[in-house]
């Protein structure tokens, strides 16, 4: 994946989020404060504004800029978390001209690490991590099994979506949804849902 393709992935992420703005906010309204779609949409719009006509030309700089923009211009919980994730992912591809499927694993790894550093959550607390961690593990396994390209990505996305589905069955103990206690059961975590949308963007342009 060259720089332009990675740029297309980021654009696709923006599109996926914009198209699902209402959906994400509705999920958030059920167990949170109903702004996750608004926040993410605002964030990726800011990202697009920042990237438009910029002279950035390496994957690391691109990811870092996305991360900085999300972290510093979005607010809410998702802003700093996704922001940190992209900034950390950027570190995994420092100095590279292109990004391969093999780079995706360390990128995801670092991203998850960053989210956990900031948010102090673990798997099973009904957050974006419940989509991202299974996604990373599935990708890891797929690559280990020698699956190539789309198949590995499919496995990753499937795991993310299953993870997001799974969040319906558990009680939130981190983030705003933790305040509604048992009432969070039956509802998908909006951050897990947005994570799926972001991962999906990778496949579209891979």
């Amino acid at each position: 994946m060259d720089f332009d393709t990675l740029m297309s992935v980021i654009c696709q992420m923006q599109k996926n989020i914009a198209e699902n703005r209402e959906y994400l906010s509705d999920l958030d309204r059920a167990i949170g404060d109903g702004d996750h779609g608004i926040n993410m949409d605002r964030g990726f719009r800011e990202v697009m504004k920042k990237l438009e006509g910029s002279s950035i030309n390496t994957p690391a700089d691109l990811l870092r800029t996305v991360g900085m923009t999300l972290a510093f211009k979005v607010g809410g919980a998702a802003g700093p978390l996704y922001g940190t994730a992209f900034m950390k992912a950027s570190e995994a591809v420092k100095g590279k001209e292109t990004v391969s499927l093999d780079d995706l694993l360390p990128m995801l790894d670092r991203a998850i690490e960053g989210i956990q550093l900031r948010g102090k959550a673990v798997r099973g607390e009904k957050t974006m991590l419940d989509a991202l961690i299974p996604a990373k593990e599935a990708l890891d396994q797929a690559l280990a099994e020698g699956l190539a390209g789309d198949d590995a990505l499919d496995a990753m996305i499937k795991a993310a979506e299953e993870g997001a589905e799974y969040t319906k069955t558990i009680i939130a103990t981190k983030g705003r949804a933790s305040y509604v206690g048992e009432r969070s059961i039956g509802h998908m975590d909006p951050g897990a849902a947005s994570s799926c949308l972001l991962l999906n963007a990778i496949k579209t342009h891979a």
Binding site: D35, I38, A71, F72, G79, P80, T173, R176, S178, Y179
Partner: protein
């Protein structure tokens, strides 16, 4: 959605503009941002910075002024402000005495304020912080994110603000702010939801005879739903939860009956009537009472009760002079 607005995109901007235009003697807005600072910077004292999502008016910008905050950082409605906005506020009001951040305990607020703090510390600014988590509706445990910060935050602003105004150093101000955090408990209910303008839909829907118990201040559903009861019984329930969380018996307290924005003062006063009776019965002495809209949730019809257990210092600071758009104490 029925609102007196022009467009959902401009709500925050126009609200902030309307605020500084109403109170130019108190407030100044930083250019190209929504950060509100005192009209005249006061040097030589610890600066207090607070903030959070908008929608809680008069909190927080209404409490900027003598004896309370030095800066308020309003985010979009119900969305924590960004680290760079918080940093801008810190940068503007910082003094050699340092800056205290008063943060409400929400994942977003804590992360965004802490990121700003890291930036400020990187610039050599002396920083400290307290995190308000007064909402007893939420279970507190090491496994969860902990309790929310709600209306009790105003007591932190008032008391720590007075301490800072007196010239105390950063650690002293932080200490008394932390003591307020440790000694304040709150809980709320709602009978009508609110609508975030950008979103257009209510956070929950209730039948004519239902209420949400244990609500936060962001229009989110509470911990559970119940049939509406005579308000004295609702007050009994909230006070029970508050009083079982901290031993108040025999002590002096400050009371806040806080409206959520759409609750008429008539009802808040009726609520206070019973709060005062219950506390008197339990040998808890009320030193000062606040009844009104201090930490709102846009137009939600609801209220919260906060009880702050006072010591002599907190009591004196609570009664000390304050001069802000939303709270004035002659002192």
């Amino acid at each position: 959605m029925k609102k007196f607005i022009n467009s959902v995109e401009n709500v925050e901007e126009e609200m902030i503009q309307g605020l500084v235009k109403a109170y130019p003697q108190y407030l100044r807005k930083l250019e190209d941002s929504h950060v509100i600072v005192r009209a005249k910077k006061k040097e030589g004292k610890v600066a207090l910075v607070s903030g959070g999502g908008s929608g809680h008016e008069p909190a927080h910008a209404g409490f900027v002024g003598e004896g309370m905050l030095d800066a308020a950082v309003p985010g979009a409605v119900y969305t924590s402000p960004t680290p760079d906005a918080v940093y801008e506020a810190i940068e503007e009001v910082k003094t050699d005495e340092g800056v205290l951040l008063v943060i409400k305990n929400y994942t977003g607020d804590v992360m965004n304020f802490e990121m700003a703090r890291e930036m400020a510390e990187g610039e050599g600014i002396k920083m400290a912080q307290v995190v308000v988590a007064d909402d007893v509706a939420v279970e507190d445990s090491t496994w969860t994110v902990g309790r929310r910060g709600i209306a009790g935050t105003i007591f932190v602003h008032k008391i720590a603000g007075a301490k800072a105004e007196q010239g105390a150093d950063l650690e002293e101000v932080r200490c008394v702010a932390q003591r307020v955090c440790d000694n304040v408990r709150s809980m709320g209910v709602a009978i009508e939801p609110c609508i975030v303008p950008a979103n257009g839909k209510p956070g929950f829907e209730l039948a004519e005879d239902e209420m949400e118990v244990g609500i936060g201040i962001h229009g989110e559903p509470g911990t559970h739903r119940e049939k509406i009861r005579p308000v004295n019984e609702i007050v009994d329930h909230l006070l029970e939860k508050i009083l079982e969380d901290l031993p108040y018996e025999g002590s002096e307290v400050a009371v806040m009956v806080n409206g959520s924005g759409g609750t008429p003062l008539m009802e808040l006063l009726i609520i206070n009537d019973h709060v005062a009776d219950v506390l008197a019965e339990k040998d808890i002495k009320i030193v000062k009472t606040f009844v009104g809209n201090y930490m709102t949730s846009i137009e939600m019809a609801g209220f919260s009760i906060s009880l702050l257990k006072l010591d002599d210092e907190m009591k004196a600071l609570l009664n000390a002079r304050a001069d802000t758009p939303a709270l004035t104490v002659i002192g």
